[in-house]
C-alpha cells in the first residue's frame, strides 16, 4: 500500500507520512498526538478506539489509514470549544459516568453519533447503539443516564 501524506482531522488538514496499511488509531495517537482514542483490543470489539468518520462512529484500530481517503475524522479532542465542554462531556461529569476513564472518549463519541441522529433516544435505543462499547469498570447505568441527560440539552447536543 502507498504512503499517505494528509489526513483531515478535527477541521484541519494534517500533513502526515504514514504507510497506508497502518491503523488510523496508530496515526492519530503516535503521529498526531491525539491520544484521546485508545487501544483496547485491536479487533473492533471494545470501542475504546472510537472516532467519527464523516460523523459516523468508526473503530480506528481496524481502519487502515489508507482507507480513510477524504473523509473527515473527528476525535474527542474536537468536542471542547474555547474551554466549553460539549453537553455530553458535561453530562458524563455530572453523572460520574466513569471510573478509570479509559473507555470514556469512545463512549462519548459513540453517544455523540447517536444523539445527532436521534435527539431523544429511548433507553432501549441507547443500549442497542452503545452495546459495542465496553466499560470494564461497569458504569453502564451511569453512561445511559449521562446520555439521557445530554439529550435534554436538545439539538445543541448534536
Amino acid at each position: 500500500m502507498s504512503r499517505i501524506t494528509e489526513l483531515r482531522v478535527n477541521g484541519r488538514v494534517e500533513r502526515i507520512d504514514a504507510e497506508g496499511e497502518r491503523s488510523l488509531l496508530s496515526v492519530l495517537r503516535d503521529d498526531l498526538d491525539l491520544t484521546g482514542c485508545k487501544y483496547g483490543c485491536g479487533e473492533g470489539q471494545c470501542g475504546a478506539c472510537t472516532v467519527l468518520l464523516d460523523g459516523r462512529p468508526a473503530r480506528s484500530c481496524i481502519t487502515s489509514i489508507g482507507g480513510v481517503g477524504q473523509r473527515e475524522v473527528a476525535t474527542i479532542e474536537s468536542l471542547e470549544h474555547d474551554g466549553h465542554l460539549h453537553p455530553l462531556q458535561e453530562a458524563f461529569l455530572k453523572m460520574d459516568a466513569m471510573q478509570c476513564g479509559y473507555c470514556t472518549s469512545g463512549m462519548i463519541l459513540s453517544a455523540y453519533a447517536l444523539l445527532r441522529d436521534n435527539h431523544n433516544p429511548s433507553e432501549g435505543q441507547i443500549i442497542r447503539h452503545m452495546n459495542g462499547n465496553i466499560c470494564r469498570c461497569g458504569t453502564y447505568q451511569r453512561i445511559i443516564a449521562a446520555i439521557q441527560e445530554a439529550a435534554k440539552a436538545g439539538p445543541e447536543a448534536k
Partner: protein, 697 residues
Amino acid sequence: MMNDASHIVNRRGFFKALGAGVLVLYLAPVDFAQESGGSRRRFGAALPSDINAWLHIGEDGIVTVYTGKTEVGQNIRTSLTQAVAEELRAPTASIKMVMADTELTPYDFGTFGSQTTPQMASRLHRVAAAAREALLDLAADRFKADRGTLVVADGKIFKGAGGDGAGFGELTKGQKLVKTIDDNTPITPATKWSIAGTSLPKVNGRDFVTGRHKYASDIKREGMLHGKVLRATSFEAALDSVDTSAADAMPGVKVVRDGDFIGVTGPDGLSATHAVGAIHAKWTTKPQPSSTGIFDYIRKNAGEGGGRGAINKGSVETGMAAATHKLTQTYTVAYIAHVPLEPRAAVAEWNGDKLTIWMGSQRPFGVRDEVAQAFGLKNEQVRVIVPDTGSGYGGKHTAEAAIEAARLAKGSGKPVKLVWTRQEEFTWAYFRPAGVIDVSSGAGNDGVMTAWEFHNYLSGPSALGTPYNIANQKCEFHGAKSPLRTGSYRGLAATANHFARETHIDEMAAALKMDPLEFRLKNLTDERLKAVLEAAAEAFGWGKRKAAAGHGFGMACGVEKGGHVATFAEVAADVASGGVKVLRATQAFDCGAVVNPNHLKNQLEGAMIMGLGGALFESIEFADGKIGNARLAEYRVPRFEDAPKIEIVLVDRKDLPSAGAGETGIVGIAPAVGNAIFSATGIRLRSMPLVPDGLKA
C-alpha cells in the same frame, strides 16, 4: 532498611526542592500486607517502619500531598483529597495529590486489598490535622491572639468570626517547619465531617472527558520507538532455534536479544509487529492440562488443608449427628481474566545507568524492585511513574511489561513504548484461579444449623469462614498445583467462597422449606450483616412482590475486608430458549463511615457488573499450554445489554471507621443470581460461570 522517603528527611534538601512552608511527615507503624494472591507473597512480610505519607503547604497556599498509592479508577485521588481538605478546612482545588512516583512519593507496598481507605486515608487525615495545628500556631503568633479564638475556614485562618484572616500561603511564608506525627494525632470524627462524607466529583474528571489525561500507554518521549516481544507458542515451551535475519533486514527495525528474550523495535507499532512476525523460531512444547477436566486435576493435585485461615470449632461429626437435614455438595469456579481495558503497557527510557519507567501498575515500588533486580541496578537507579491507570482489578501487580520495555530500550538505545496486545494480555498475564469447593452442612427441623464443613481447593482462603453462627465448623483451604499462572483479582477467593456458601445456604433453606431470608436471619448474629440483609430485602421488595412467571428472586450476603454486603437479584430465565437475563439487582452495603456516597455507589455498581461476568459467562478456555479464547470476540465480558437496573442502599455508620470498598461489592451477585435462577426454574447451578452456553435443564 532504608526506603526512598529517606532523602526527604534531609530538611534542607527538601525545602530546597519544594520551597519554604510547612511539612508534615507521617511515621508508619509496621504494616502487614493483605492477601495479594498467588505466589507473590514475598511482600507480605513486615515492611519497614518509616515515613509513609507526607504533606507540604507552600508559600502559595498550595497543599501538596505525597502518597505511593495508585489511582486505577477507584477514585482515591478524590477520596484522599477529601481527607486532607476535611482536616485543613481548605478548598479541594488547593490540594494537589502526587501519587505513585517512586522518586517523589514515599514507599508504599501497593494498592490492593481494599487498604487505601482504612490505612492511607486515616493517615492523611492525621497529617492534615497536624498541619492545621501548625498553621494555628503560626496564626496565633502573627495575630498575637489566643489559639482558641482562631477560626480555620476556606484555606484561611481568621482572628475570630468575621475578623481579619490570613491565607495558608501568607502564614507559611519564609517558614521551614517540620512536624512528624503518628497514629496518636487526633482527627475529626466522621459525625463532624463537612467535606469528607460528601459526593465530591472526581477531582480530575475533566481530563478524562476531554481525552487530555495521559495514561502510561499515552506517554511519548523524544525519539521513542515501539516495541514488540516474540512470544512462545505455548506456556513452558522452550526455544530451540531462531532465525532473525529477515527481521534484521527490515528498515528501521532493531532485533533485541538477551538470553531467551527476543524482541524488536520499530518506528511504529505496525513495523514492529511485521518484524516480530518475520522471526522464525522453533519451540519444543510439552503436554499440559486443559480446561476440560480441570476440576479433577485440581483435586488430584491438591495438598492437605488446615493451613492459612483454617477454622475448627466444636465437632462437625457431633453437629451432623444432631441434624435432621443434611446436605453435601460441590461447587466450582473457572479461571477468569481481569481484562483491564488499558492492557499492560510501559514506556522505558535510559539515561546513562538511570532508568525511568512509565507504567500502569498497582505496585510502583514492587515494579521498581523487580526491574532493578532484572538489570542488576540499585533500587534508586530506577524510577517508576504510574499515571492514573486504565483500571487493574488486581491484575496489574507485576513488572513484565516494564522489564520487556527496558530491555528493548537498552538494546535499541532509544526510549521504547511497549503495549501488550489484547491477546498477550489474555495469555501472558495471570488469572484468577479456578477452584473446587466441597460443602457439607446439617440443620435441625427448627432451621438452626448444627454443622458446617467447607473445603476450598486452589482458589484461596479469603472469606473461608462463615458469618453464620454454627456451633460445629471445619473450614480449610487446600493449596493445589495450577496449570495456569494465578494471582490477585478483585475479591479473589472471597467471590468463590461466597458463591459456594451462599448457594449452599439457599439449598439448605429449600430443603427445610424455609424462606431463605428467614433462614439466614435465624442463623446470623452479626448485627451489621443482619442490618444490610434487612435493608436490601426492604428495598428489593422481598416478601412483598411476587415474581412474574419465568422470573425468580435470589439473595446472598457476606462480610469481607470490613464490608458488610447483601445482594438481591431478579432474573428472567427461560429453559426452552436457554435465555437468562438479570433484570434488576439491589445491594445494601455497610463499610463504616461513608467517605464519598456517589463514588461508593459507583464502585458497588461496577463491582456487581464485573461480578456478573464471572457469574454468568466468563471462563478462560485452555489446552496444551494455549489459551483458547484470548480475544474479546471469544471471551465475553458484560456489555450494556447485560447490565441490570441496579439499586444501591448505603448503610452509613458514622460511628465506625471507614473500610475499603473496591472489592467486597463483587461477592454477592453470583450466588444471588444463581439462587434466583433456581427460584425461577428449579434448576440448581453450582458452577461459575452459571450459564456460559445458556440455561440447560
